[in-house]
């Protein structure tokens, strides 16, 4: 399906096309990687809604990126449970290893580093989201292995690193 077709399919789920702005932005971001002005305007035009409505949402919700992000967006949770399990040290490790600070992207465009509020995976704290996957029970060694895995993925030499096993019942 084209982006327009996907957005139309999403809009069909609601009695109001304004409701489809958030789903449409998620579709557009998946297509373009981020949401620059022309993409926001295209979304507004497809839905036939005011452009300001689309701008309002794109700048309110943290999962929408109006600026480009790296190929791998490392989103480290540093809320209370992850903080108690060492997230602060992991952030320092990532900053030192990648040579960038929070909110920055490496020069090669490979990694963007962010901290995020709770990812809702506190049972495997500290946890990080990269793309669609959660990586939990992190320590410095596992972080290093993950970065290597992502670098290998970038040159097409490996598949996505194995996500953390979920331990839903304290096992």
């Amino acid at each position: 399906m084209t982006m327009r077709e996907e957005i139309e399919a999403a809009a069909a789920r609601y009695p109001s096309r304004r409701s489809a702005i958030m789903p449409a932005l998620l579709i557009a971001q998946k297509e373009h990687g981020h949401l620059p002005g022309p993409v926001l305007e295209e979304v507004a035009d497809i839905l036939g809604v005011e452009r300001i409505w689309v701008y309002e949402l794109a700048t309110f919700y943290t999962l929408f990126h109006t600026e480009p992000v790296g190929l791998f967006h490392l989103q480290l949770c540093d809320n209370v449970s992850c903080m108690l399990c060492g997230a602060e040290a992991l952030l320092g490790h990532l900053e030192a290893t990648l040579g960038i600070g929070k909110g920055e992207t490496t020069g090669d465009g490979l990694f963007t580093l962010s901290t995020v509020e709770c990812l809702g995976a506190c049972e495997m704290a500290p946890v990080m989201q990269v793309g669609d996957e959660y990586y939990g029970n992190l320590d410095a060694m596992r972080l290093e292995a993950l970065l290597e895995g992502f670098r290998a993925m970038a040159v097409g030499r490996a598949a996505s690193p194995e996500p953390a096993s979920v331990r839903p019942r304290g096992e």
Partner: protein
């Protein structure tokens, strides 16, 4: 040993698939409801069970359903609050990832009870696996006739759609969720009118949490007496407790409502890490005021926790041990609320910004003698003066930390350093 009901399927390798759910008797409650009961009887059954909402506020579910006007020309909507954003909480994610049909059956029974033909599951965008699993499960349920037109050959038309959030904690507040679903910034609405009367698209709307809806098929299958027979009279039923932080066995535990917090931590979650002692526990996500170790014999239910100045909230239990600085914990909690404030009202937007600055100063050893008084003044200015409960949650959390761990705050100010860092 307590029989696991809500988590019965979550450890099955294919617990998310329809065949697993059906093999365990799944969708039997929906079939029974359509065959044997009127919508009014289901509302009455849920009232009798005394099921209270599992999202945080603990409002009686059957009563909430009964507020929906029976005679109305407008469509009625059911919204599932799956925007699980309270730090320390992950129970709904695990239900949706590992047993999504349990939620779908709960939605269908609840939709029948309130007369809704459409349900939206508002699920936080970070939960990619849960979204994917729930999408698959909805498609399976449609193909099997559990959703769609003429559910199981009955007159019921009912369908479920997923609406993905995009990273805003305030969407967990029910009226902000409705704003978001309507395509606006998630800022809370003034109540009344309450959503049951004028909610989504100004139509009657019921909003229930994932865990609440997951309880409904079991109440139908086993009866209100079974449910009411578990835990305390005023807060009955099985309950999911999320345990995380500095504890040996973090995880999700299904136990009776009302279990002692100490038993949950020490016996089920394995107690503190080797060589350490539990210092404090946040019992219900970061909105719930912290409890010092001496208070851990409290029951994990709405009334018992309220009686000791805390709350059950989302039952996200965060364990803090004796190596940790409570000023740092309090600072991180207030930073969270400051970050997530939607900006609609001044006490929350400005007050939390101010509180964060003072707390960071104290934690860095640069606090002054008047800072604790100033924090107290800020809590008074925020609590009870904000549009929704976000500001209250921050103020309550900070007040509890100041009350129970004042010695640590004072030590930071007097020693001009954090005593937990050399």
């Amino acid at each position: 040993m307590f029989e696991s009901v809500l988590l019965k399927n979550v450890d099955l390798p294919d617990g998310h698939l329809l065949r697993s759910y059906e093999a365990g008797g799944g969708y039997g409650a929906l079939a029974k409801v359509l065959r044997e009961h009127t919508p009014e009887e289901i509302v009455e059954l849920v009232k009798q069970s005394n099921l209270r909402g599992r999202g945080g506020a603990g409002f009686p579910t059957g009563m909430k359903w009964s507020f929906v006007p029976k005679q109305t020309a407008k469509p009625k909507y059911l919204c599932c609050n799956a925007d699980e954003g309270e730090p320390g909480t992950f129970k709904d994610r695990i239900i949706m990832e590992r047993d999504p049909h349990q939620l779908i059956e709960g939605l269908a029974v609840s939709g029948y009870a309130i007369g809704a033909e459409t349900a939206y599951v508002y699920i936080r965008g970070e939960y990619v696996t849960a979204i994917r699993r729930l999408e698959q499960a909805i498609a399976e349920a449609r193909d099997a006739g559990y959703l769609g037109r003429g559910v199981l050959g009955s007159d019921l038309n009912f369908d479920v759609h997923i609406h993905c959030g995009a990273g805003a904690y305030i969407c967990g507040e029910e009226t902000a969720m409705l704003e978001s679903l309507e395509g606006r910034r998630a800022q809370p609405r003034l109540k009344p009118p309450f959503p049951a009367v004028a909610g989504l698209y100004a139509s009657p709307t019921v909003i229930n949490n994932v865990e609440t809806l997951a309880c409904v098929p079991h109440i139908v299958a086993r009866g209100a007496d079974w449910f009411r027979g578990i835990g305390p009279d005023k807060s009955p039923g099985p309950k999911l407790y999320c345990v995380s932080g500095q504890v040996r066995r973090p995880g999700l535990y299904e136990l009776p409502m009302g279990i002692a917090l100490r038993e949950l931590i020490e016996e089920h979650a394995g107690g503190p890490l080797p060589g350490r002692k539990v210092k404090a526990v946040i019992p219900g996500g970061v909105s719930a005021p912290v409890i010092p170790e001496t208070g851990l014999d409290v029951g994990m239910d709405f009334e018992s926790l309220a009686a000791v100045g805390s709350m059950l909230g989302s039952a996200g239990v965060i364990v803090v041990d004796d190596t940790t600085c409570m000023v740092k914990v309090a600072t991180r909690i207030v930073e969270f609320f400051h970050h997530e404030s939607c900006g609609k009202c001044t006490p929350c937007r400005e007050g939390l910004n101010w509180a964060v600055k003072v707390l960071r100063r104290i934690e860095a050893g640069e606090g002054t003698a008047g800072d604790l008084e100033q924090l107290d003044m800020l809590c008074k200015g925020i609590f009870g003066n904000t549009f929704c409960a976000l500001g209250d949650g921050a103020a309550m959390g900070l007040r509890a930390a100041l009350k129970h761990f004042s010695d640590e705050f004072v030590a930071h100010i007097e020693e001009h350093r954090c005593p937990f860092h050399s």
